[in-house]
Amino acid sequence: MRLHFIVFIIASATLLVPGRAHAQMKSWNNAGLSEPPKGPSGPAPRRDLSGIWDAGPGGIQPTGYNVAALFTPRGGEMAKANKPGNGPRIADVSEDNDPLSTLGDPAGFPRILLYELRPFQIVQTAKQVLMLYMFEKRWRVIWTDGRALPKDPDPRWYGYSVGRWEDDYTLVVQSFGLDDRTWLDNAGNPHSTSMRVEERYHRVDRETLALTVTLEDPLIYTKPWTPLNKLPIRLMPNDTDLMEMVPSASEALAYRKEIASQAKTK
């Protein structure tokens, strides 16, 4: 009961506090604060996710996921080679080989959802849904023109994605062809190029999306798993100018020089 109360308090705070922080919002260089648009709420538009969205602190998973029990033998071997700075297999800072934080490699997909889902903008065209992420200042193209995913594509950091409307308020996105140099999360969980990812964006109301992500990668995990289950994401004012948050290679190098190289404990 006490645990439920604590969870309630934290969940409530996640929703409420950004509204207070909105008092500090500026026209430019806005970090992303979950203030809903002003005016009457009204119904959600049909088949339209356009807008700037923010999952708040819920979009950031610093420690990653504890999924060791799901590893296949190959998955376990791949996981051993990854030396993360967080999570259940946390390594000494001198051994950390996170390609994002130590080399400045792209976060890739789906890590951009499973680790650092900072504010992002959705733009829709007749044939595409575009995801414009504040983190890394990256974008993804989700084709909604009915094309199928490629069968044997050259892997990409952000893969290949197609989407369809399951109903007027639910966009389902399938992704494939994902580069296995990327990690899934901050815990160094691996994936293969055979992984398939499903995202479900459900428009709960005008101001709220719920995102569910399911991974299927039989080479690495013994069964599909769902790292994000109905993550609430809130609509931001449409005049929000998001900050840059680009983890560059030169800044990763500076971090190793100034901090990591001196912080090692072994």
Binding site: I9, T14, E116, W225, P247
Partner: protein
Amino acid sequence: MKKTLFDILAAAALLLVSVPLLAHHGAAALDTGKEVTLKGTVTEWIWSNPHCFLKFDANDGTGTVRNWAVETQSPTSMTPRGWSRTSFKAGDEVTVTIEPVKNGQPIGRILHVILPNGQKLIAANPTTPESRPVAPVPVQ
């Protein structure tokens, strides 16, 4: 009463917002829970991703003046807390409270800084057993 409840919620949210600190690199090197307060002179303020660094000279009890490099979160996380690219300039006299690393090197993460004009900039809550991040369990 309403204000009290809101303050509780705000405190809980601050804990959550604090979690991403060191999210990129991990906190294994930190002597979490230990606080050290240093008075020193700013030599450089680096406003960069994924972490900002404050470098300053301080006599830290080792008998010599050492140049400390201490980090915060990213600009996107620090901006809502009132930090900016111009928060510090070389020569500023500051009082910096940090969590140091375990190995004794002059590095760590900032908890808060008191500026020459007395303003206090808060970077993070101290790490406590309750606020240490817990790995979420995957949903099947």
